[in-house]
């Protein structure tokens, strides 16, 4: 695999890990193939990433689908999740000064500028917004998948701009995961997302400069 192909697969793998678990995913975690891939990818990309212990095979070999599904639902799932990975919730609702709703300058609300911009991007790129993301087109899963598409099809500057503008809230997401005391697995997964994206930003910056 070339560098960009590895990068693309890293984004897709992270997106995959954030989705509702199924038997394939649990199998891959138990077998250690997911983390092996991430570790090897980081190594090949020269990203100095510490894989959190809870994601390593020593700890994932005991995983059960039912437990992981429950943890997913209560941590980042759409119904009960206490730490939903949605960009709008971590950013000012709008930068437009003409808005006079009480939430205008606050964080924590759906449907912010960032969500509408994501919707616009998907439309412009001919990408159909999946039905389950209609309420939040700025969900991290879609953003990671879009990054994979941008790596495959877009100029490095486009990637840099998207990362700079839309993937700059992950530190707060991870901090919130700790405050909400979500499951260790998912909190560590959000940490891994944050670390990998930070390393990838540096990589992209280096290439552009």
């Amino acid at each position: 695999m070339g560098t960009d192909e590895i990068r693309q697969q890293v984004y897709l793998t992270l997106a995959d890990l954030l989705k509702q678990p199924d038997e394939v995913m649990v199998h891959n975690l138990i077998e250690g193939t997911v983390i092996d891939f991430m570790a090897e990818a980081a190594n090949q990309l020269n990203y100095y990433i510490q894989i959190p212990a809870s994601l390593q095979q020593d700890n994932t070999k005991q995983l059960a689908l039912a437990t992981l599904t429950r943890d997913w639902a209560e941590s980042i799932g759409p119904f009960k999740g206490t730490c939903k990975p949605i960009e709008s919730l971590y950013k000012q609702w709008t930068l437009d000064e003409s808005c006079q709703l009480p939430l205008a300058k606050q964080k924590g609300w759906l449907g912010s500028d960032w969500a509408w911009h994501m919707k616009q991007l998907l439309e412009d790129f001919g990408l159909e917004l999946p039905q389950q993301f209609t309420s939040y087109p700025d969900h991290l899963i879609l953003q990671l998948e879009l990054m994979a598409i941008l790596i495959e099809h877009g100029h490095m500057a486009v990637q840099e701009q998207f990362m700079h503008q839309h993937l700059d809230w992950l530190e707060e997401l991870w901090q919130n995961s700790k405050e909400q005391k979500i499951s260790r697995f998912y909190s560590d997964l959000l940490f891994l997302c944050k670390e990998i994206i930070a390393a990838d930003k540096s990589h992209v910056n280096k290439v552009l400069n």
Partner: protein, 727 residues
């Protein structure tokens, strides 16, 4: 190295690369700049921050709600909105909204299910309950607004079920009963044109409609004298000429004594009484015993003051009013509240103010059309008995059709009621004794709750069905009564945010279809609105564009034909006598009283704040911040009583009785009668899904027993004694 990802949600095509390359929206900043240039559209609609449905203009930019302003052509808003309207706008964008149908799978455990599954399960269960136990075991409950009334009534009638209840047994059922027995309907007050106004427990300044405050301001500017009689120096008292603190639960004694003065001093309007009333002699004979001196002992208001108030009122007749109140002084609070409402009507009748400028006023509504019964046959009226005993001989025959939700909970616990549907209504939190309410609801075979948020009542549901927020749905055309009626509509002003939410009409139609009742619902929301508007020569298109239209019709002035049996004002009620109650209003002492020799014993009273609606708005962070900024969740205690207990302003206190206990900060004040502690009513949520509200403040319903007032079964929410001590 082997990639292991499973599947992607986003599917790139051959054109994706070219589209990315040609896109000019990739830069957020440029996109945002272009968005700022968009025009703002203004769309008329109706608020949902409380039940008043004030007219509002929703300003929309790029498909998002952007601002809200009051609709000038709506009788309740008249161009102004309260804080709740601004706060309620946020519900649409709340990340904790209900987004999918949910099904109970265990104690406090719910899982999402599809609409098909939900409707299939609900309809099957409902049909089974109807088959096994009959329509008398099924109820529907809501805060009654026209869209829900229309669809729910039709649905309930289609299954031959009669029990449709509202929240009113915890609000103003007393008023409905008391005024129905005397006047035949519940009047308003022509406050703006009044010369002399007495508010007993009524608090316009922290009440529910901005237009009421405007009317009060007009009266004050016109030189009216305003007297506020209330155990608490409330926000209206701050505007009034005089505040008279009264011992809570004794308004009836005051009113009877004022009637006594008017009659014994020949100050009443004899001509009005002679021409327009029946039963005066019986009433006059009954009030002989209620002297001001007698009332002074009970009310803690000096006899001289009572006499003066009666004389002042009489001297301004007929352009004066003793406001009929609502929930305030003699809503569903005390065992004597129904009699208080009846006596209050009598007091107004004695000064002959019915239909007079500045007196009791009678509103009119728009004369709507209806669906063509040939094309859209309505189901027949139910032939079955109500499940909640309202209007039923042997139970609560004088209870109005608003019903008795707390009695339903008791009957459900006993297995006498089996299924219910509740919409936009939270009786599990807003009626006394939540444990009683929850136990009852959890005993049901089926409880469907239709809501936008996961309320306390949702916690007891078997199924929860999510509605779009009020900004995302159109409802049928409404009429708002008044001196000039308003015709208005709730427009859909933004696109639906959560695709799996469905409007109430959609839900009812789906259920009806599954239950073989589709023939009663062969029309659209639009069809209903057009039929309603037809006689008014207003098109639906015009209605949608304008949002609210105040009609030129005006309520007639002068004494109207009353909707009592006699067509006249009834000081004496045959109906009350037939059901074993006094023909004329008589003194009934409060059910419970603070312990005389216990310095920690108080009556717990409660009231509204102008920036909260019951417990429905405490989860809106901006509205709760107002509470926090002003310490407005504090319990009020009289200064002298506090000193005896060693309680200082800002202390935490423990409030307790046999129902429960809770800690809250205290406001030590001279603005409260010594017998009472006062708690604002909007706090104490316990749904774990209310991240902002739950755990904040305490709620009066946690200290009040489940109980039924004898005349109409209301909840008697201020018949509660607590002990207060420094925490």
């Amino acid at each position: 190295m082997r990639a292991i990802s499973r599947r992607s949600f986003l599917k790139a095509s051959a054109a994706t690369g070219a589209l990315i390359a040609s896109s000019n929206s990739i830069d957020f900043n440029s996109w945002a700049e272009a968005q700022e240039k968009a025009q703002i559209e203004v769309k008329g609609s109706l608020c949902n921050g409380c039940a008043s449905h004030c007219g509002m203009w929703v300003h929309v930019k790029n498909g998002r709600a952007w601002k809200v302003t009051g609709h000038e052509d709506h009788g309740r808003s008249r161009g102004k909105l309260c804080a709740r309207a601004h706060g309620a706008m946020l519900w649409a964008y709340d990340p904790d909204r209900l987004t999918h149908p949910l099904k109970r799978v265990g104690e406090d455990q719910f899982e999402p299910i599809s609409w098909d599954e939900a409707i299939q399960e609900i309809s099957q269960k409902l049909l089974k309950v109807l088959d096994d136990y009959g329509p008398e075991t099924v109820f529907y409950g809501h805060n009654p607004r026209e869209h829900g009334v229309f669809y729910a009534t039709r649905f309930m009638h289609s299954i031959n079920a009669a029990t449709i209840h509202t929240h009113n047994a915890s609000c103003n059922t007393t008023l409905t009963t008391g005024y129905a027995a005397t006047i035949g309907s519940t009047p308003g007050s022509d406050i703006g044109n009044s010369k002399y106004i007495i508010f007993i427990g009524r608090n316009y300044a922290e009440g529910i409609r901005t237009s009421q405050v405007a009317n009060l301001s007009k009266a004050l500017a016109g030189g009216a004298k305003v007297v506020c009689i209330d155990p608490r120096h409330n926000a209206t008292a701050a505007l009034a000429d005089e505040w008279i603190p009264i011992r809570p639960g004794t308004d009836l004694a005051l009113i009877l004594a004022m009637c006594h003065v008017l009659i014994t001093e020949n100050l009443y309007n004899k001509e009005f009484i002679a021409e327009n009333s029946i039963g005066f002699q019986e009433f006059a004979a009954a009030v002989v015993q209620y002297t001001p001196e007698w009332a002074a002992e009970i009310t803690d208001i000096p006899a001289d003051t009572i006499i003066r108030l009666a004389r002042e009122l009489a001297s301004h007749q007929p352009n004066c009013v003793v406001d009929p109140s609502w929930k305030g002084g003699f809503g569903t609070n005390y065992i004597n509240s129904t009699e208080t409402a009846r006596a209050n009507a009598c007091l107004n009748a004695l000064v002959g103010n019915l239909g007079e400028p500045g007196g009791l006023s009678f509103s009119i509504n728009a004369q709507f059309g209806s669906l063509d019964p040939e094309k859209h046959p309505a189901p027949p009226r139910p032939t079955t008995k109500r499940a909640d005993g309202a209007g039923v001989k042997g139970e609560y025959p004088l209870a109005p059709g608003n019903g008795l939700p707390h009695y339903i909970a008791e009957k459900a616990s006993k297995g006498l009621i089996k299924a219910g549907i509740i919409r936009n209504h939270n009786p599990a939190r807003n009626f006394p004794d939540p444990q009683h309410m929850m136990e009852g609801y959890k005993s049901l075979d089926l409880l469907v709750v239709v809501e936008t948020h996961f309320t306390e009542t949702c916690m007891a549901a078997t199924h929860i069905l999510p509605e779009p927020s009020f900004l995302e749905r159109e409802e049928i055309v409404e009429s708002c009564g008044g001196g000039r009626p308003t015709v208005c509509i709730r427009n859909q002003v933004i696109a639906k945010i959560h695709p799996e939410t469905k409007t109430f009409d959609e839900i009812i139609v789906m259920l009806a279809e599954k239950m073989g009742l589709a023939h009663y619902f062969n029309f659209t929301v639009e069809d209903v609105s057009r039929a309603r508007l037809a006689p008014l020569s207003i098109s639906l298109e015009e209605m949608r564009e304008k949002g609210s239209i105040m009609l030129e019709d005006r309520a007639p002035t002068g004494m109207p034909k009353l909707r009592t049996n006699s067509g006249k004002f009834e000081f004496y009620s045959e109906k009350f006598v037939e059901n074993g109650f006094s023909g004329v209003p008589t003194w009934i002492p409060p059910k419970v009283m603070p312990e005389a020799n216990n310095p920690s014993s108080f009556r717990l009273i409660h009231g509204k704040q102008g920036y909260h609606s019951h417990t429905a708005t405490a989860n809106i962070p901006h509205l709760l911040q107002i509470t926090k900024d002003y310490g407005a969740e504090r319990i009020w205690i009289n200064s002298q009583r506090a000193a005896v207990l060693g309680i200082k302003d800002g202390d935490m206190v423990l409030v307790k009785n046999r129902m429960g206990e809770g800690k809250v900060r205290v406001k030590v004040t001279q603005r409260l009668h010594p017998d009472a502690v006062y708690l604002p009513a909007g706090y104490g949520n316990f749904s774990p899904h209310f991240k902002t509200a739950t755990g904040f403040g305490i709620n009066t319903n946690d200290f009040c027993e489940y109980q039924l007032e004898p005349i109409n079964g209301h909840a008697m929410m201020m018949e509660a004694i607590v002990e207060v001590e420094k925490a």
